[in-house]
Symmetry: C2
Subunit: 647 residues, 2 copies
């Protein structure tokens, strides 16, 4: 039997030494959760640290990511080569795999980036969904693993954490376990400053199994972990812990969270825990216990490889994990009449049911306007075959689940809601961009085109706010053809997320050609002028239709006008300057986008003009609003005459 | 006794007729909650519709704002002049007070803008906090009212709704009551698609009183409302309702939410409810019942005016509601050594304790770095005298509470957290901008200056994302002087919110003069060149110190260099073009901001340069990161030489 207490102390001292070496860090979690983590790894976790990318491994998420030294200590002690002692000595230094908060590095056993409170457990929900969906498809011989999340008080106070509790209970994700570090301390002081809730009762209300244990009692923890594995419900193991356990001065104190550690702390902790070893030295017997404990995972990994060798589903299993794109890209029926781009998007999504069976649609109460459900059955507590997850009105959770699914592998997540609600989902979307995960965020109701629901529901600054975000591609396609193109580019992009902003109101069909995906260049001349260019109209989304109409009138007046469609700034930004200039021309420019002008100075010169929104919207029908805010063909024509005259 | 059932039917038919007249709308809520609302107004609510701005009125929040016709019907029937029958006939039309979702118009009885799910109940929490804080200050003779929120399933699924439940229980806001429309239908279909939670148990876990009633049983509702008023705990009245009650075709159905209504629906509802009256006709007897019911509120209002007349606290009560600024503005000690602007901000906030006693600080687990608590005691369940609310790790709720407090009146809300968490709070901040509420959002940890906590915690695109937002002022002050100036401008601004982005790391003291608030112009020449300007450095925040240092080196090289500090784009944007040009000059420009370049083309020409962040940050100390990302004095100098040479 391994000496789990010593295994736990090894975590403690690695954390202490690394934090002292770095000069700063958060000791509260690794010291407080050492027994919990050691027991999990010793007797329950299924991982093979020599093969950190093994698809059927258990997933471990450190949602309380500030306690990152807990994770690094676990990875080091369990034998993950990338987390060497040398790496731990670079904790919190530039370029270290041991960053201040865990940054996704799956080859090093770091499953996902965590640190912003709540994101981790919400990602864990996505991982647990992914496992169940894949198990339904490929069977338990190939897919049968669990998700364990270390969780702090902050994660549970966050709204997204509460959304997670609710949806996990609803979906009965029984292989997901939260290990709650109930240390009763937050950064601001005692948790009692801000919460009086009966947290176990809150989980029980959402149909979880709740087990309350002393978080330093190894036998109790072990029994709780066994119970979590045997109960069909998701489990909360509420671990009553002492923050910074082991440092006499800080145990159970607010300073236990991250107060600077002194030489004296090190001396006193070594004395208190009878640890005579120098800094960064772990006795071989303890390393051996850790190594032996990992044998269970190594065996499981080998058995899995053997099972897979002749498994009839091995080939599709691999294919789903590589997530190849359909070739050729499914062709779409061209609508003859103006069609909302959300509807065209729904058509694409439908076609992908056959061409990319590993797509998984997450949806925040928005089935009707995007049609995604037409061919997709629901993923539910009793049927894991569905490729459509009703996430409820929980946008923030949904975005993070999409990250967790992408990080898990095997599935292509597609998260759907209203664009106005992207503000709720934004922090999770940023995590997708930061982690460079291939998530597709699809939004409907992209502008004042929403109509009478009014300014709360009308995005104005959303496009700009995401164009400002590193590694996020923002698409606002003009019609059905560009919508299909945007889907294709977004799914091809494996090193970051994409956002599709789609219209509720009908979009004129401005493109007929489909031989080349012209959206790839970000912007292109949608309609050439009849003669040497006197004016360029630049439009995105439904405003392309207005531009085409204005072009016809201006050409009739003898003003040769080009229309440039610009579905994606970020792609256009990557074009050489000469190509940009060729497309945008040197003639006066008018940009038309029913959104904030913020950022448009990137493509407009002082002499150019912008037609869009400088205020919030209003409550009226879309037609009335476009007229009211002056986003009209007449206004374009009028402005064009002015510019051409003064040019 | 009033005929409450008929009063309820009057709501139903006004809603039906208005929605049919508009051609679209959401009938589910007004038809489903008609008895609940009528009973509340008939027997419990304390308002005087003839004096909608009476400070001691009960506050009513329609958190399920899509059901706006419920609110408009209530306001009309209770005698609010601004909501005439003619106004109701313009429901959902441009300029109507009866917008698609309620838009704040307090003279018309619309307390707050609602519609984005969860925002309403979170604002209601702020209102309930405001009432208790003001009551502690002025006594129950002047302040003693309740807050009632109509709540839908969506509001409770949202994370911010869950945050509200938790904090309300913790603070024991006993005068806050949620009236939950438990109709078991969302836009996407049955609530059972996405939730299995025992919602009453969830509220009980958070120390609420929960009363479950048939939402169409007037006696049961009445008893529940009485119980809510007498119990010291906050109350959830869980009203089991039938969505779209009264329309045989839609009752209890998904289409009850907002399916288009037909002539036949109108005929059938009139038959079913024995309502022979034509559209928009309410019998006088019913109007009379409504009018009589309002007598209670009118009496209360008159009694309150009488009590106030000779009340010793009448003058400060009025003063708090007018929220005058301190004059002269408190002077601040000038730090000699570089000082974090969060610390300077804490100094200002401390001084305001005396000068603006009606300030109320809301804080999401961030006491330490902003020092706000130094002189402020906590507002708790047992002590309402505190001016510091521990909101816990619940940023989204906190932002909306600030809106609710501002809308309530009498207090100046100041919401504090880390800038990276503004993504969590953003939707509520947008509501403040949309409602033009004077909320001050204070953020610390404004950039990679955060250091080793890494990219999750380092804002990059946040400044741009808020600069893109209409009616939001974004301040990034350079030092202690600009920090005080930003506070002053933000507090003076009564028609919208402001955001302060403050540094964790020390900021050089670049200003000594304090006679004039130079930040008012948004940007100004912080340091003049020694001769005719050859270069302009434009900086915000802590980068002003780098610019000054670079200026000294460049001047020594014979390059006359101006340094422009630009603490607030939005204010600079309002300057005449000539003033802008005079400040920015015609020489080459280099802008320096440790953030995304997005939007900077507004102030930079193609020949100019930007030094900042084009990617996410990393985990290392602030000094190392500034060096790593090339935001250094040397880099400014190098770039300056290039630009001046090619100029």
């Amino acid at each position: 039997m391994p000496d789990i207490q010593s295994m736990a102390h090894a975590i403690r001292f690695l954390a202490l030494d690394a934090i002292r070496n770095a000069g700063e860090g958060h000791q509260g979690v690794p010291l407080g959760m050492a027994e919990i983590a050691a027991t999990l790894y010793a007797n329950h976790l299924k991982v093979d640290p020599k093969d950190p990318l093994w698809p059927d491994r258990d997933r471990v998420v450190l949602s309380n990511g500030h306690g990152s030294m807990l994770l690094y200590a676990l990875l080091h002690l369990s034998g993950c080569e990338a987390v060497s002692l040398d790496a731990i000595k670079t904790f919190r230094k530039l370029g270290s795999v041991c960053a201040g908060h865990p940054e996704i590095e799956q080859h090093a056993g770091i499953e996902i980036t965590t640190g912003l409170l709540g994101q981790g457990i919400a990602c864990a929900v996505g991982m647990a969904v992914a496992e169940q969906r894949l198990q339904a498809e490929f069977g338990a011989d190939l897919v049968d693993h669990r998700t364990w999340a270390f969780v702090g008080d902050g994660c549970l106070q966050e709204g997204m954490g509460q959304e997670a509790i609710s949806l996990v209970g609803h979906l009965q994700l029984g292989k997901l376990t939260f290990l709650w570090d109930d240390n009763q301390i937050t950064d601001d002081g005692a948790t009692s400053l801000s919460i009086s809730e009966d947290i176990p009762a809150r989980f029980r209300a959402a149909q979880w199994q709740v087990i309350e244990v002393d978080g330093h009692d190894i036998d109790a923890i072990d029994a709780a972990l066994t119970s979590a594995k045997s109960d069909p419900r998701p489990s909360l193991i509420a671990c009553r812990t002492v923050i910074a356990r082991g440092i006499p001065r800080l145990e159970g104190q607010r300073g236990g969270h991250s107060a600077p550690l002194t030489d004296q702390d090190s001396i006193e902790m070594r004395a208190a825990l009878d640890w005579p070893h120098p800094a960064f030295h772990i006795p071989d017997t303890i390393y051996a216990d850790w190594d032996n404990a990992m044998q269970r995972g190594r065996d499981a990994q080998e058995a899995w490889r053997t099972r897979k060798q002749d498994h009839p589903k091995a080939q599709p299993f691999d294919s789903w994990h590589q997530s190849p794109l359909p070739a050729p890209w499914p062709s779409l029926p061209h609508p003859n009449a103006p069609t909302p781009t959300i509807q065209s998007s729904g058509d694409v999504c439908d076609q992908l049911m056959d061409a990319m069976p590993n797509t998984l649609v997450l949806c925040a109460d928005l089935e009707a306007p995007t049609n995604h459900k037409r061919r997709r059955s629901a993923f539910t507590a009793t049927d894991r075959n569905g490729s459509y997850v009703h996430c409820g009105v929980r946008e923030h959770l949904m975005g993070a689940m999409a990250c967790g699914i992408a990080a898990h592998g095997g599935l292509q997540p597609i998260a759907v809601t209203y664009l106005a609600f992207s503000d709720y989902e934004r922090a999770a979307m940023r995590m997708a961009a930061l982690m460079a995960l291939p998530v597709l965020f699809v939004f409907s109701h992209d502008s004042i085109g929403v109509g009478s629901n009014g300014p709360t529901h009308q995005p104005i600054e959303v496009l700009a706010s995401f164009r400002a975000m590193p590694n996020m591609r923002v698409f606002r396609p003009a019609d059905a053809v560009e919508t299909a193109e945007a889907w294709q580019i977004a799914l091809e992009t494996r090193n970051g997320p994409s956002l599709l902003a789609l219209s509720r109101q009908p979009a004129d069909q401005v493109r007929q050609d489909t031989d080349t995906n012209r959206s790839r260049s970000g912007a292109y001349v949608l309609s050439e002028p009849s003669a040497s260019r006197a004016l360029t109209l630049i439009a995105t989304g439904t405003e392309a239709g207005l531009a085409i109409e204005a072009q016809q009138a201006l050409e009739a007046e003898g003003i040769p006008t080009a229309v440039v469609s610009m579905p994606c700034w970020e792609l256009f930004e990557t074009q050489p300057a000469a190509a940009q200039t060729e497309i945008l021309g040197t003639a006066p420019r008018i940009a038309i986008e029913a959104a904030s002008p913020f950022g448009w100075t990137r493509w407009l010169r002082p002499q150019d003009a912008f037609i869009g929104m400088t205020t919030f919207g209003a409550s009226a029908t879309a037609d009335v609003l476009y007229e009211h805010f002056g986003i009209t063909v007449d206004r374009i024509i009028e402005k064009a005459r002015e510019l051409v005259k003064s040019d």
